[in-house]
Subunit: 268 residues, 2 copies
Amino acid sequence: MNKTALVVYAHPEPTSLTRRFVMETVGTLEQLGHTVMQSDLYGMNWKATFDEADFPCRINKDRLAFIQESGHAYATRQQTQDVAEEQRKLLAADAVIFHFPLWWFGMPAILKGWIDRVYAYGFAYGYKGEGNRYRYGDGILKGKRALLSVMVGGPAKDYSPRGINGPLEELLFPITHGALFFPGMDVLSTHAVYGTGKLEPSVAEAEISAWRSRLEHLFDEAPIPFRHQNGGDYEGHVLAGHISSGRTGLAIHVDEGRADQGIDQCQT
Amino acid sequence: MNKTALVVYAHPEPTSLTRRFVMETVGTLEQLGHTVMQSDLYGMNWKATFDEADFPCRINKDRLAFIQESGHAYATRQQTQDVAEEQRKLLAADAVIFHFPLWWFGMPAILKGWIDRVYAYGFAYGYKGEGNRYRYGDGILKGKRALLSVMVGGPAKDYSPRGINGPLEELLFPITHGALFFPGMDVLSTHAVYGTGKLEPSVAEAEISAWRSRLEHLFDEAPIPFRHQNGGDYEGHVLAGHISSGRTGLAIHVDEGRADQGIDQCQT
């Protein structure tokens, strides 16, 4: 069945590996019969900084409170046009793919600013005016899929389960769990290419080919089995004592029983 | 002894709790006889997006490669003035304090863009032209202290060791370990205020008072005992097998033996 995908990307150089992956994404998905929307953040000159210009019709002109103004602007349809347009794309998408280089173990600022600004109160959080009731598996983006495609300058070893940088999937947890699963999306395990600073052309081609294969399963691959807030594993938003008993850290929010991929759980 | 501190902050509203903490920081440190420099990112209209405008004198005008241009601009003193000025402040500081609201489990984009742009190749990474040799405890900022002061909208429980958001110190690991310890700074444990969306005035006053007490120990508090890359715990940038044996995840990069604070290591 034909689906709709949104591709959000953050690299200004058309010949970069990030952009070559974007081209592959658009080409492959269209070839599979899907519809593709694009958000080329550098090309759009996306405004990264969330500030007073985001609220042309303030509820309180004396004091800037972001959550209050964000909620007001969203509810009264007085957001800026660029933000409203990205929300429209998100709602229209069945899957959202993010392409970006890993900069200081996270998103480039322009992409973080896309999250900061597009994720309005009432939309991505405070859904249905119910505070934290709908999140982590429930929310306005429930049923959609999300996938990060990340270009990493350093070697894979440094991001391995005991590598010095920390495991990549845990470094990205604030994004996968905190920004994508939070408003309800099913998040696939991150697709990373390492050592991108000095990739041989033949290796780059092999990586693009591997990405193409991955894309073919965009709509049937099993997502990271993050635990749903409202699925019975949490008591008052804290993991119930009998689950992952005695353990702490980020990986306990992945359901090992359901896990066939995702955050590395090995205790070897 | 009198020291010099740099305060970097990211909130545009002068009456926000973030800015009240900034005022407390400046006032308290000056009262203690220290010199304080400020980087008011919103006030400076800091450019968040790292792009071609960062490289007025390109080494390659046909293709934008960030690491190459960053290294060239830094080495030849052709960086933009705003970036060079922030690097000068970092080098002049004995301690750097960051004040920001937690947005989507990370820094506001304007602050991420400060890291992206100021952390040039040859300065914060690739130090001395030696690739990854000097990092995680070694680097250009070695001997300086760093401290995050974070305003968190949600309740502390959700960020507790088994809370649904993940423990705050692990969510911030890409910043504390990845951006601050990386170029050599000693990082103190994060100072967080929770539930900032609806803080009673008396509670806010108590939080400011607690922060003042913390500041008084800025230069004698024990930092998070992150393991030094070149301290003998790593073999080829992977944690040696006999250390934190059988474990994975972010917390293994904290030396429990030295730990009297920092990332929660409990297995209770």
